[in-house]
């Protein structure tokens, strides 16, 4: 599959079909999910209506991490095989990833005010998301500051890969350093878990975010492929070489 898509022409063909599908699926999931989340589901006992923030917050936090993983994998491919499509992919994962990270921070702090009484706590989980934002910004900054595309791709991919090793280290150190945030109650096995009327809308919202991520990334890759096409379109060389042997 990946091998098949590695050709930009085939990729464009594929994305022509896939992109709208992702877009519409995401829209549908959002409508359904938000309906369940905002209207159907009950307010929580401790958090009251503010719990509805969870349906925006938790998927954003998850997608932020998923996007980074995708980014790191694309970077690995780009670094080893120097494939231009992988560069486009990595670059296109970064922007939505940054946006999700930012969204997780904003919704988290909007939730923090009713839940903890402050916008922000220097708690391990939140700090590590802040650091993830720094990593994303650094990654984007490299693309931004280096005009030569190939070089930018290579340097950015090095940073993304090393940054990926760094993520468990940060998580471990920061989690261990100061904890306040909700422990992972869904992701860890045997945890008490949420009742199904909360779990369902959450799951659908996660799907919606994931499709949104797919849609944004595909569009980003398409635009990037087209852009580098245009750059290559003008092919008449400025000079001809004349070689004379004396």
């Amino acid at each position: 599959m990946i091998n098949y898509l590695a050709n930009p022409v085939r990729f464009l063909k594929f994305s022509k079909i896939a992109t709208p599908i992702f877009g519409w699926l995401s829209l549908a999931a959002f409508i359904w999910g938000l309906y369940l989340a905002l209207i159907k589901s009950p307010p929580a006992i401790e958090h009251g209506q503010a719990v509805r923030m969870m349906y925006v917050h938790v998927p954003a936090a998850w997608c932020a991490q998923m996007a980074y993983t995708a980014l790191a994998i694309a970077s690995l491919v780009s670094f080893i095989w120097r494939h231009p499509l992988a560069d486009s992919a990595a670059r296109s994962f970064a922007l939505p990833g940054t946006a999700f990270t930012f969204l997780a921070l904003v919704t988290g702090s909007l939730w923090g005010k009713p839940a903890w009484g402050t916008w922000w706590q220097w708690d391990g989980r939140m700090t590590s998301v802040l650091i993830l934002l720094f990593i994303y910004l650094g990654y984007l900054a490299i693309w931004n500051i280096i005009p030569e595309r190939k070089r930018a791709a290579r340097l950015a991919s090095i940073l993304a890969m090393v940054g990926f090793i760094n993520i468990p280290i940060i998580k471990f150190s920061v989690d261990w350093w100061n904890t306040l945030h909700q422990p992972a109650s869904i992701s860890s096995p045997g945890a008490p878990g949420f009742p199904p009327e909360i779990l369902w809308p959450l799951a659908i919202m996660v799907l919606a975010y994931t499709f949104l991520f797919g849609w944004l990334s595909l569009r980003g890759i398409e635009a990037d492929v087209v852009r580098s096409r245009i750059a290559r379109a003008n092919t008449k060389p400025a000079a001809t070489a004349i070689i004379e042997t004396l």
């Binding site: 916008w119 220097w122 700090t127 650091i131 900054a141 500051i145």
Partner: protein
């Protein structure tokens, strides 16, 4: 022709791929790192918040100081400037203005966000922003002066921190105190007046001194 100079500096900043914004990143990183180092407890840190914000602004600005004249000196633009019919004083003024706009203003605008992560009361946020605004001209002019003095020395960066520190200490002291002053007497706080005074002095003394320093650099 100050306009042309300011326009050029702004264009250069925009062209640099957003480099001028990195001062803002430094500001954020500084706040984050100090919060982490101090242990992250909001109750413990709240009293220090204005001080930390002031420190973040000062270090972020200080680290942009060397850039004010460094590249212009190295690539020979400063020598050409001397050969144009423009006064060095207006050059210094233009540099101070573009520095304030590019390197200090964004920090002041980011202060409310920083205040959020320390959970500062609104009044203190206002006070911090006002004190920073009043100190901005002085900060920019100290930057121009020290950069003019050290233009073209390698490693001038650190040295600039050293030579501007004595000038900046009064700003820092009164700036941080102004937050208490503001709580008591709002805009009438004597510390704020001192900050205005310091800014005026720096305009009157610092700018001519900077242009003299540039002249000395070029002969």
């Amino acid at each position: 022709m100050m306009r042309a100079m300011i326009k050029r500096d702004l264009t250069l900043a925009m062209r640099s791929g957003g480099t001028w914004l990195y001062g803002l990143f430094f500001f954020a990183v500084f706040i984050a790192l100090s919060a982490i180092a101090l242990g992250g407890s909001l109750n413990l840190m709240r009293p220090f918040a204005p001080a930390l914000i002031w420190l973040a602004v000062i270090f972020s600005a200080m680290l942009s100081f060397p850039a004010i004249f460094q590249t212009d000196f190295e690539d020979g633009n400063l020598a050409q400037f001397k050969l144009s019919n423009q006064s060095l004083l207006s050059l210094c003024m233009a540099k101070a203005i573009s520095f304030a706009a590019l390197s200090i203003l964004p920090l002041i605008l980011a202060t409310p966000l920083a205040a959020l992560v320390f959970d500062m009361p609104l009044q203190n946020v206002m006070a911090t922003m006002i004190s920073l605004c009043l100190a901005a001209p002085a900060l920019a002019i100290y930057g121009v002066l020290s950069s003019a003095i050290l233009a073209g020395r390698q490693g001038g960066g650190f040295l600039i921190v050293l030579i501007t520190t004595p000038f900046i200490i009064p700003l820092l002291i009164f700036g941080v105190e102004a937050i208490n002053g503001y709580a008591q007497s709002a805009l009438a706080a004597p510390e704020l007046r001192v900050l205005i005074g310091l800014s005026l002095i720096s305009i009157a003394v610092g700018l001519p001194a900077a242009s003299a320093a540039l002249k000395a650099q070029l002969e």
